[in-house]
């Protein structure tokens, strides 16, 4: 029964849609400025080519940004009625939606995630999130916080590289809607969409200082979250850094929100709809290359269905299309950075050591460039799964 092979032809989205500029600069007090820090080069993880040079902030830039945010909070944004703040936020949300295609391509170039996800998830969700919070700005008196809730003040925020624009929207939307001003540090490897968001905010006429975006590495992040001119710190990222921030802020009276890694277990019982449970597991761990703070990296299956479930799961994993992130048919794109890839390769090796030959998947791992679906830079990892022999194993349960 020989069926003809049917390969999907490449269907790449045009990279030109990203309107990529050769250089990007920090956004402080309503203007794009030359940062005092050493400029960094942001890479396209799919090709490891330089996308753009990005100016970074020095400690003085952080001071200026915090001072500008304080000024904006006290003089303009804090006293402004919620209905007025909402107008700016609605405008920003609308432009994010209007420029969705550009932002999606830029996100995919900078982050390596498949265009299908940036197009269908990241950007529309970011816009929806801004719309949602814009709508709250004049209704805070009815939000269960008492009749006249007050803003906290100046917020310092550091966000990760897994959902760069969406994380920026998560921080900016609620902070600004409630009358706070913000100093945002995007991730070192993915600063571009946050800077375009700053441009959108500037075009929307957002008063200077309300939003400041300071690209840079961990040192800039440390300078932001440790700044004593802040009233609140909001951090999304690794548990280790979160703990560090928690120690740093303890006793200062500054408020702190942490959203850290919480790799979680999928639990499948024998009465589950198996095919959809398989899809749930696949979405849970392979969505966004698994770079999700609550990724389902562990799988606990009732023994009575283990064999069937794992068969279905391995078959489903085989159908995932690994490749060019800009290709509209790609399910799993490029790993965002070298260090992340090294970590995955390391875990894959641990998985192989833990359970050699325990299923078909390990043979397809780790990280060999995919032979069937070019193009492939070193930044690729094949999806895979291991059967752990003990629940304390580092991989799978890691």
């Amino acid at each position: 029964m020989a069926a003809p092979s049917w390969e999907y032809a490449p269907a790449p989205e045009s990279a030109a849609l990203a309107n990529l500029k050769p250089a990007y600069r920090p956004f402080v007090d309503g203007e794009f400025v030359d940062g005092g820090g050493e400029p960094l080069k942001t890479l396209n993880p799919a090709t490891e080519e330089v996308l753009a040079e990005v100016g970074t902030a020095s400690t003085e830039d952080v001071d200026r940004a915090v001072a500008a945010a304080r000024r904006a909070y006290e003089q303009v944004w804090g006293p402004m009625p919620g209905a007025e703040r909402a107008k700016y936020l609605f405008r920003i949300a609308r432009v994010v939606a209007e420029r969705a295609r550009e932002l999606a391509v830029l996100e995919t170039l900078d982050n390596g995630k498949p265009i299908r996800e940036s197009r269908d998830v990241d950007v529309p969700t970011a816009s929806a999130h801004l719309f949602h919070h814009a709508g709250w700005a004049d209704k805070l008196g009815y939000a269960g916080l008492g009749p006249d809730p007050r803003p906290v003040g100046v917020v310092g925020s550091v966000i990760p590289w897994n959902f760069p624009l969406l994380m920026a929207a998560w921080k900016i939307g609620p902070a600004l809607a409630c009358g706070n001003t913000i100093v945002l540090k995007p991730a070192e490897t993915t600063p571009l969409t946050a800077l375009v968001l700053a441009e959108i905010a500037a075009d929307a006429g957002l008063p200077p200082g309300v939003l400041n975006v300071l690209p840079g590495a961990g040192d800039v992040g440390a300078a932001v979250v440790g700044h004593d001119g802040l009233d609140k710190v909001a951090f999304t990222g690794s548990t280790d850094v979160g703990k560090e921030i928690q120690r740093r802020l303890a006793g200062t009276g500054r408020r702190l929100t942490l959203e850290l890694g919480g790799k979680a277990a999928n639990i499948v019982y024998d009465d589950a709809p198996l095919d959809q449970a398989v899809d749930g597991v696949v979405d849970g761990i392979f969505f966004n290359q698994g770079h999700v703070c609550c990724a389902g990296s562990r799988l606990l299956v009732q023994e009575s269905i283990e064999q069937e479930f794992m068969e279905l799961l391995h078959a489903r994993i085989e159908t995932l299309r690994v490749g060019d992130p800009l290709d509209k048919n790609t399910d799993v794109g490029a790993i965002n950075s070298r260090p992340q890839l090294d970590k995955i390769v390391d875990l894959a090796a641990a998985g192989d050591a833990e359970a050699p030959g325990a299923g078909p998947a390990p043979a397809r791992c780790p990280n060999a460039a995919s032979s069937s679906r070019p193009p492939c830079s070193p930044a690729w990892s094949r999806p895979c799964a291991w059967r752990a022999r003990r629940s304390s194993a580092r991989c799978s349960p890691c």
Binding site: A3, W6, D270, L274, D275, Q276, E308, K328
Partner: protein, 325 residues
């Protein structure tokens, strides 16, 4: 309790791996209700994701030809005449006379009394003749009438029989009656292929679609088919997905390939390609052949041909040039 699909590789049905499941009405009910459920949010989400696949250039051209070769070109009207069937057969043989390289369709599908006309018109073409039977489309008649209907189609020379299940019996839980009827019709088919129409638009959700699929497979269906085309909704991507999972699971359990036919409501090339993507990614590449996947359609062929010309010539062809069938 979930019944997991057992491993032995043998023919299904009465003598095979599932002999215990079909022993009596109660066993059949236990088996069908023990199948894993279908989560409707999940199945629709997967369908929506698969529908975003972007099939372009040579893969689109290949898909268009594949879809053409999988069509059961259908006319099932009270007003059907021998002349109409003959002209449909001419189109089935050579769908686009300006482009002789276009494959012929898989089959022509007619009412049983016109099977003979179609057989005559298609002789030597390789295009099969399918006839609907068993009191199509409602299936509301006696067993004797349904078998006589089947016999009429077989005597007319139909190589494929499209029967309808007794939805009334299915919906009232009389699975044994549905099973026995399929077995009887299968026997009446002789060497003809049997497609079993579940009429999914009349079933109560995806769990029912899965149960009806398995019931038909157990009873010996060569192909499970979504719809008569007379009830809306007919073939939808999530329903076809559930049926593709059923034949995939059947193959995993028995090693046998059984087919799926998506019929009714598929009118555009875009929709057809979405179905092919589902076949490719859910059942697997094995199923991308006219033996194992069919479209039951009348208007679809015209759009496939128009899209095919567009791919080759770079511009659209108007409706007057290639009309619907």
């Amino acid at each position: 309790m979930t019944t997991t699909v057992p491993a032995p590789r043998a023919a299904g049905g009465r003598d095979g791996a599932f002999a215990a499941a079909v022993r009596d009405d109660a066993s059949l009910r236990r088996f069908l209700h023990g199948l894993p459920g279908v989560d409707h949010v999940g199945v629709e989400r997967r369908s929506a994701t698969l529908a975003t696949r972007s099939i372009k250039k040579e893969s689109k051209l290949q898909a268009l030809d594949m879809a053409i070769s999988m069509i059961d070109l259908t006319t099932l009207e009270g007003a059907d005449t021998p002349g109409k069937v003959r002209s449909l057969c001419a189109q089935a043989r050579r769908p686009d006379p300006d482009h002789p390289e276009v494959p012929s369709v898989a089959a022509v599908c007619v009412y049983p009394d016109l099977a003979g006309v179609a057989v005559e018109a298609l002789r030597g073409s390789g295009v099969a003749v399918a006839a609907v039977a068993t009191a199509f489309p409602s299936g509301r008649s006696s067993r004797a009438v349904k078998l006589a209907d089947t016999a009429l189609a077989v005597e007319g020379g139909a190589g494929e029989i499209d029967m309808v299940i007794d939805r009334g019996a299915f919906l009232t839980g009389r699975y044994g009656a549905v099973y026995d009827e399929i077995v009887a019709v299968k026997e009446a088919c002789g060497s003809a292929h049997l497609k079993v129409i579940l009429e999914t638009g009349e079933l109560a959700g995806y769990d029912d679609v899965r149960r009806a699929s398995w019931l038909a497979l157990l009873a010996g269906a060569d192909v499970i088919k979504t719809s008569t085309g007379k009830v809306s909704p007919a073939a939808t991507l999530p329903v076809v997905q559930v049926m593709l999972q059923a034949v995939r699971d059947w193959h995993r359990a028995t090693g046998e390939h059984r087919g799926v036919k998506a019929a009714g409501g598929i009118r555009t090339a875009k929709d057809a390609i979405r179905h092919l993507v589902a076949v490719h990614e859910i059942a697997g590449a094995d199923w991308l052949t006219p033996e194992l996947f069919r479209f039951g359609a009348s208007a679809l062929l015209g759009d496939l041909l128009r899209q095919r010309r567009t791919q080759l010539e770079g511009h659209y062809t108007d409706r007057d040039h290639i009309g619907g069938a």
